[in-house]
Amino acid sequence: MDQEKEIQELVIARLRTLPDGKEISMGADGEFTKEELIEHVRVNDAVGKKMIDVEMGFLRALKEGIFYDHNEFADNPA
């Protein structure tokens, strides 16, 4: 599996953990359920790519451990 596909699968797995009964507003792109977001990631369109940016940005920040010093991460949010 190439890296892009691996990332796509990782993001889909993370989106599956979103709670039911919630929707995500992405501004002018609209509002989405988790199933709709997963489909956008699967077809790799603009909304799907945005979701990948969001998830990977968060995972990188988590890896760098910046969440545990709020002054640090509010000042330098990755």
Binding site: S25, M26, G27, E31, T33, F58, A61, H70
Partner: protein, 213 residues
């Protein structure tokens, strides 16, 4: 101080952000400020341009959809567009709760005389409860996003500088994330962290950070 606020309301996103702007309106009024509150159909280009020219608000709080170079009002009407009318923001401090407008419109507004432009360089993303979408103010999931966002205008209303208002919101996002990470929270709330982090990192302050209303 004059505060101009736009509150379009025609889809779930604009319903939420406009409803959550109400505490800002109430806070400004309680402090004796004059609030020019353009709701629903009144959040249109003609009214906005007229208010910006005639009422000379010191602070402008835009709620609505946007893009890199536009801000929109009711039913998606473009109320500000780079190269057309951003000069009307001259001498003002702006907070745009909108997607991406800080990227081009914010920078251009500052070049054309806006004192400071606080906004998002990427999409503003938030989560809400489907069952609460007709009662946005009762939605505690949406509150996790919209309360930190409100720190910008609430801080400006108190007379703080643009930089301090911006920092206040960043810190509110950061505190919210830390609380969700370190305390016993539901799975539902924990799922919001990735989007709170996204909004926090994409909030920027352009122009003169020391500018006060």
């Amino acid at each position: 101080m004059n505060l101009l606020i736009t509150r379009p309301r025609y889809d779930y996103t604009t319903r939420y952000i406009s409803a959550w702007a109400e505490p800002v309106v109430q806070s400004a009024k309680s402090k004796g400020h004059h609030v020019l509150d353009l709701q629903e159909e009144r959040a249109n280009r003609q009214e906005v341009e007229s208010m910006l020219k005639k009422q000379t608000p010191e602070v402008v709080f835009f709620n609505g959809h946007g893009s890199e170079d536009t801000l929109t009002g009711h039913n998606g009407e473009v109320i500000l567009r780079t190269g057309e009318n951003e000069h009307l923001l001259s001498e003002k401090i702006i907070y745009a709760l909108s997607c991406r407008s800080a990227k081009i419109l914010g920078a251009s507004s500052v070049k054309k005389g806006a004192r400071a432009y606080i906004g998002y360089i990427e999409d503003f993303i938030f989560m809400y409860s489907s069952e609460k979408r007709t009662r946005p103010r009762e939605d505690r999931t949406a509150a996790l996003f919209l309360e930190p966002s409100n720190q910008v205008p609430l801080s400006l209303i108190k007379g703080n500088s643009a930089s301090r208002a911006y920092r206040s919101a960043k810190n509110a996002y950061a505190r919210g994330i830390q609380k969700l990470l370190t305390s016993r929270t539901s799975k539902e709330d924990t799922a919001t962290i990735r989007y709170l982090f996204w909004d926090m990192k994409n909030l920027v302050c352009q122009g003169d950070g020391s500018a006060r209303p």
